[in-house]
Structures are given as C-alpha cells and as structure tokens.
Subunit: 511 residues, 2 copies
C-alpha cells in the first residue's frame, strides 16, 4: 500500500464537494449534460455550479466565480472555452481546489498554439499543487463514490473493473460492455491529452485502490514511454492490466495524432515493451472486456493443459482450434480419466478431448464429467461449452400465458445462477479456472441480458462464443506465467501484434 | 435457373406432407422435441408420426409403419436407432418418399461398423431415388415453407440468409445471431455426416433459390474436395458464400474427426482453393454473420478507397487501423472535399480522414458530411461510426414514468429506422456501400435488441464495434473483385488463414 499515491488521488475520485465551472442550463451544451449526469449519478456531497451569467442552474444555486463558492471544493470539473482555462486554474488553486477534470478540447491536438496553451495550463496547476485530468477528455467516474462527472449518460454500478482510456467514446464502449455482463466499475477515466496525469499515473493509483481487481485500458500513444513501462511493470505485479493499443497502422496512427495528439510509435517496439511489462494485449473492445472479466473470480491456472467439456460437437471443434492457436494444449486424456468417464458416459462417446457430452441432456453427466477432468492432475483448466443441461427446467417456448412464461424465465435465471455458483465453487476447490461459453437455444432470444444480470450478482461470466473461452484461459495462463517468470513470453502469447507480414529479421529465423 | 436442381430439392425444403419416423411422447426424446418443433413451427401440410407402440403422439394420429400412412409424404424425418435406419429407408422408398432427414447418430463418426451401416443406408436411398440429409445431424429449417424439422426450439422468420453447417449447434448459433439482428433465414441445413448430400449440393440448390441472397457456412472437412470446389466456384458467381472453416489445428482436426467423421485437411491448401473458388473466409461465428449481413442490402464498392465519418475519435482510430489491416485505403481527402466540409464543419475539425465530427450533436453536420464524402469520386465506400446524432430525440435517462420512457423509446426506434432508410437510400443513389457501427449511450442498455428488430424490418444492419465495419467493407470489396477478376487475391484478403508462422516459401519472398 502506498498511502501517498492514494492521498494524491483522493480529491479526484473521492471528493467531498465538486465545483462545476462552465455549468449551463442549455440542454445540448456539454456544461449542461455533464452536470446533469453528476446530479443524476447521485453524488452525495455539495455540487457548486459556476457561471457568471446565471444564479440557478439545473435546480442548484450557481456562483459567478469560483471564489464565491462557500467551501473549498476538492474537485473542479472545467468546461469553459480553451483561452479561459489557465485563468480558471489560477482561481481554483487560490480556492484550494486540489484536482481538476478539464473537459475542454482545443489544446495540443489542434497544433502549436494549443500546445502552448496546454503547457501554460499545466504549469499553473503544478505550481499550485493541483492535479489535472485532460484536457480534451469526456470525464471521470467513480461509482463507489457515486461520482459520475462524465459526458455519457450511463451509470455503471460499483464493481471490480477499472477503465483507463485515451478516448472517451472507447471508455464508454468498455463500460457498457461491463454493464451488459451485469458487472460494475471501480473507476473510469477518459485521459484525453494527458497534459498532467498520464495513463500510468492512474494505473499506479488503481494498483492501490481496494475496489479495483483488473485494469482495462485503451491507448493510442505514450507521452513518456520509458516512464509508462517502468511504472506499469510494477502495477502488473499487483493487478492484471489488459490493453487495447490503437494506431498500429499508418492510417490509425494519423487518426490518433489528430485525435488526442498521441504519437503511436512502432507497433513492434510497443509489443516487445509491453511483454516485458506484463501487459496483456487485446485485439478489440470485446476481447478487452472478455479477457478482463475472466480475472474477476477465476483462479489462475498452474499450466497450459486444458480439457474442453462440450454439449455440442461444432463448438468443441472451434474451441479446440482456438486453444491450439492460443498456445494451450488440449490434453490427450490419461487412461485413468477416460476410465472414470466411461463409468457413466454413453457407450458411443468419443473418448477424446473435447469431452463431447453427445448432445446429452442429463445434468448429472455434465457435473460428473466436470469433476472427472478437474480431478485429473495433468489438467490445469477446464472449458465448459453449453450450460443448458445444468439448468433445472426447459420451458416450452409455446406457452402464451405471460405469467407462466415469466415464472419459467425466473426459474431458469435462478437455475443459471445456482449452476454458476456451483461452477465457481468447483473452480475454487480445485484451484483451476472453469471458463464457460453458452447460448440459450431453449429460451427466448432476449433473455440473455437478464441472464447476464443475474450472473453478475455473483461475479459470474458466461461467454457467448467458444473462441472466447480459449482466449480468456490463455490470458489467465499468460498472467500466471508472468507472475512466476517476470515477463510474457513471445510464443506463449495469444495475441500477435498485428496481421502484417513478419519483419525480415523474423523471416530469417526460418531459413 | 437450373430447374432440375430446384426440382430435386423441392420435396426436402417444400414438402407437401411429412412423415416423422420415431416420433415420441416422452418429452426429453429427440423424437419428441423435433416433432414438437415441426408442429410449433406451423408446418401447413399434414404431419404423420410413425411409431409401432403409439396411436396418438402430441395430439396427432400416429401410424405403426410408414406403409400405413394415408398419403405419400414427400419428406421423412428419421429418428430411429442406427440399426433400423436401412430398413426404414426401404420402407420410405416403397412408400414413394423422395427425401429424408436422418437425425440419428452412430454411423461413420463412431468407426468402421458405423461406416458400413451408413454406406448400406445411402446405397438403398440412392437406388430408390431418395435424397438424404445426415445422418448425425440436428435437422433442417425452411422458414418460407414454415418447415422447422430441427432440434433447437428456435423459429427464425423467413429472410435472405441461408445457413449450411456441418454442426447442428453452430447452425443454431448462426441462426440466432441473424435473428438478433432482426433478420431472417431462407433455409438452414445441419448436414451431419453427409452420407448422401454434401454441403456443395445445398450450395448448388441455394444458388437457384429465389429466397436466398447470401450463404453462410460452417465446414469441418470435405467428403470430396475436388467436387466441392468445382461446384462452389460456380455458386459464388451467383451469390456470395461466406465460410467459417474449423479444424485448422491438430487439436481442432482431431475433434472434427470424432464429431462428424470429417477430415479437415491442410489449412493452407484449403485457403488457396477457397480463394480460387471465391469463398470469403470468416474467423469466427460473429464475423461470419457480420460479413454475411453486409451483403443483404449494400451495393458492392468499385474499389478499396474509403472514408470514415465518426462521432467519436477513438472509434475512428480503431476503424482506421482495421481498414489498413484489411487492405482498404483510408483515403487522404482531396482538396475539393475538404473545402466542401470546411463550409459547415467547426473551425477546429481535423481536416483528415476519419472525418471526426468532433463530438458534434448536430444531425445536419452528419448528413452533410456523408453527402460530401459520398460525392467524392475517389471514395468507393463510407463507414459511419455513431448514429445517435441523426436521431430526432435524446430522452433523458432520468424519467421514471414508464409510459413516458416507452414513448421516448418508440420515437427513438422510429428515428433509427428512418435514419437507416435514408442511409440505404444514399448508398443506393451513389452505388457505394455505407456501413454503420454505433452504440446507443443515450438510451437504456437493453434497447439494442429492439433497435436491431426495428432495423431488420428494412433489412438494415447496425454493427456494434468499429472494427466490424472495416471487415464488412473489405469483404464487399473482395467479392466485387472476385466477380471482376475470377479469384480472390492473396493480398486483398482480410482474413489470414491462421496465426501460425508463415511457410518457408512465403518467408523467402521477403529476402
């Protein structure tokens, strides 16, 4: 625990009161929308809107200047035009404000004049002992503190996932995916131009934050690459950092430059450095989330040998391919395990891995098969494809009585939760991850979001396609190896830096 | 139009009546579940259950033997134990049945004895002029004929997408994804062991089927690779065939062998052959669907130069990267187009491609920017990221009046449909694809399925992540090039065969 890091970020993420500078009553203005979100998010300290032209904003008393605000707010949200920002920072410093979120765009990302203005702003803040998020960002959220000082009107519940992103809309995309899985957010930061605080500063705080279990990040480029990797390398020893790195192509790098003034750099240099720093790389927003959620409740595997237990042959084949591609071994089952399975499986079962339950509808077979493979000391993790057989009830899809349907759905949802509770118990007992993917063909199409919500209450995650299970299992194995050996191996990693031809130096190795 | 192909498949997909051999009243039996689906699917001809031990099955009069059925059914669904199947085929032939779906497993996939039994079955069917699906499959669906002779209790509406899969559970996964997008199915086949009819036979039929616009397929291996590619090469000249090929690794190939007795073969040989045959390859079930749905309403692009119009910077960067990786050029905008955009865009816009609307909330900017880039003759397709600005209303998420919320949701849904109708009109007018990805941060999380349903009514598709738009656009460009040049180029393709190191021969090219 580093108390100085925690203390530094306290006024930002757990402020006692918030000044909102540039607050507005006009519905389409950022100064109106973000203030509305702050209010609607249920922040439980005072909020002080500041605007020289108003006396009442969205039902709150408004103040002409920061100096007029009754107390010393810890945090200022700043949404005034770019030229006014340095002056506002001075006023904040004089008032004793210790943290600022500068939403305003029009700084380094628009050229040299903006760069100068940005430097001016950050110099004044640093001289006054004030930390800054942004500029050119869309805000921060700290759901455990009911703090929703951000543009998108989404209100994720408190949870174990932290989000640090150099793009407000990608941060939102990540948070929405977490919410769809019924899970919550510990902290979310849209870092913008990172004039003062960089991604790595937030990582450093989150490593100490007791609410955070895993850090998901979206990066376009680094302000100070050396510092980034030095700090992050220490963070990953405490908590997994999963990263989506954009700007890996010329077109993407150009887009990043004009977006947040970020220099993307060479993708292969990045990839080498992030392996040394133990950062797990994801290929897109969905993978980022899916990998991250795998770390919430699952134990880390002691090796890369897996068994797949599947209700359907095709999904088993796809998962086996994905495992092999991710550097996992779909283990040839030992004789002993086959004999144990033989005791109850139908005579025609394939005796292979995947263990195909042969479209079996019997829950006892599913549970027994799972126990068999978990018991096997050579198997380090288990993938389960298809959970329907474990549920207590399969309602007929033909009932037209809404009450009857609702009752059946609730029963299914409870069955789902109980089945996952049991699976998480097995994973804990054997200290082996059990990663599940399933669809729900016997239920209405739109039950899936309710399913996810129900699972979220126990921290359970059900993936929706077979390949995801292999990706998540491999990421858990990668991280476990990193903790043991101090770096992510090249070969062990499941995410190639990109799809372009290998470099000359790589090609030569084959000759 | 090949009338003989259509005539051959008529009794299978458009039967006048169906015999169900092995029908059951026991709820957990396949012979009960599939019959229930056939009944619940609304098949409008007579259904004749056959079971020597029953007189009434699920409310229908049941017959002891096929010979006892009053008419000559076109189609027989067969769910009896393996040893009885050849005898049942004889009885069907004698009764004049012209097509059979053999659900029963326990044939070639379980070894030599099963292989012999399978051969016996198919020889008798062929001698009697009867075509067969399966064995070891989970059925077929032809929603335009209200025919749901399949295991999963899902009932996709009629639509433009055909599904041919060597796995019943993958076929179900594909169909469910189509349904989630509010779209429908023209025909679905779980091909199983393919004792008689192979995938390519179904492709050949679907090429002539007026209901089918695009063919999605899942393949583990080929019974006769030469025949497969010869036939499919002709099919792809008429309709796009998108394929997910499994069994590309050792673990996957072993799993495929025990699943449907399929020999996966060398992945690189497959990849070369499929390029010659114009087959578009997808990497997973989601990509398969997303690519396929792109072909339903969009015109094909005349080249690979694209513009990205985005409401959010991060999504723009991710899409630019994905375009470059997929072999699309994110075009540097011509001066003329920049001047046209300058006329209305805010002064600080980046003047780059992606055209970043700078978090603009103004619908007129979005529509004007789209017209500008579509008008540009050097741009062959447009990617739009973020549709919210085009909607007429952003309801506050804080209303607690259910009626008010419902009214706002309905207004948003109609606005969404109108916006997509307009986008499809623009795509048609300029004959350039307009591919859209968006999230809906200003609305409740669970509105997305309703959105998809509403868009489905006009054949519109909204993707959920930026990378998907690049993949779909590249696939449309690939197919357009195939139609012009007769083969898919290696470099033009966006889906590398797999992630393993390149072959020696490839490496040498770089030296």
């Amino acid at each position: 625990m580093k108390p100085e890091v925690v203390a530094k970020f306290q006024p930002l993420f757990h402020p006692k009161s918030v000044a909102f500078i540039g607050a507005s009553n006009k519905p389409d203005k950022w100064g109106s929308i973000i203030l509305a979100n702050l209010i609607n998010g249920g922040f439980n300290g005072p909020i002080y809107p500041v605007n020289p032209g108003e006396t009442d904003i969205q039902g709150l008393k408004s103040y002409p200047k920061i100096a007029d605000v009754p107390n010393n707010p810890d945090l200022a949200v700043i949404v005034v035009p770019p030229p006014s920002v340095p002056q506002v920072i001075d006023e904040c410093v004089n008032k004793g404000v210790r943290a600022g979120v500068v939403i305003t765009a029009g700084f380094a990302e628009v050229g040299d004049a903006g760069q100068d203005l940005q430097l001016e702003m950050v110099n004044r803040a640093r001289a006054g002992g004030m930390i800054l998020v942004g500029p050119n960002c869309n805000g921060i959220m700290c759901p455990p503190a009911n703090l929703h000082a951000a543009m998108p009107p989404i209100f994720p519940p408190p949870g174990k996932v932290a989000v640090v992103a150099q793009s407000g809309n990608v941060a939102t995309s990540i948070a929405r995916r977490v919410m769809k899985k019924g899970l919550g957010i510990s902290c979310l930061v849209s870092t913008g131009n990172e004039a003062d605080l960089h991604c790595e500063d937030f990582f450093q705080y989150l490593a100490e934050d007791p609410e955070t279990k895993v850090i998901l990040s979206y990066i376009e480029g680094f302000r100070d690459g050396k510092r980034f990797f030095e700090i992050t390398r220490e963070v990953t020893k405490k908590k997994p950092v999963i990263m989506l790195k954009a700007g890996s192509t010329g077109a993407g790098a150009r887009a990043a430059k004009s977006h947040t003034a970020a220099l993307s750099g060479s993708d292969s240099s990045f990839d080498g450095a992030r392996r040394q720093a133990g950062i797990i790389r994801a290929k897109n927003i969905d993978d980022l989330n899916n990998i991250g959620l795998g770390f919430i409740r699952q134990p880390l595997p002691r090796g890369r040998q897996v068994s797949i237990v599947t209700a359907g042959g095709g999904w088993g084949v796809l998962a086996a391919d994905a495992c092999a591609e991710a550097g996992l071994e779909v283990l040839t089952l030992p004789e002993k395990t086959i004999a144990e399975l033989d005791a109850f499986m139908p005579a025609w079962w394939s005796r292979g891995n995947p263990v195909d339950l042969v479209a079996g509808l019997r829950p006892d077979h599913l549970w027994k098969a799972l126990e068999c493979v978990l018991r096997c000391s050579e198997i380090h993790g288990v993938i389960l494809l298809g959970i329907m057989a474990a549920l207590p009830l399969r309602p007929l899809p033909t009932s037209t009585n809404p009450q009857e349907i609702e009752k059946a759905i609730q029963e299914i949802l409870r069955g789902m939760r109980d089945a996952f509770q049991k699976l998480l118990g097995m994973a804990y007992r054997y200290q082996k991850p059990v990663i599940v993917a399933s669809e729900f063909p016997n239920t209405a199409v739109d039950i899936e979001s309710q399913m996810a919500g129900m699972l979220g209450t126990i921290g359970g995650v059900c993936y929706l396609r077979p390949e995801d299970t292999a990706m998540v299992m491999a990421s858990l194995a990668d991280y476990a190896e990193y903790l043991r050996f101090g770096a992510l191996e090249d070969g062990a990693d499941h995410n190639p830096p990109n799809k372009r031809p290998k470099k000359l130096s790589d090609s030569k190795k084959h000759i």
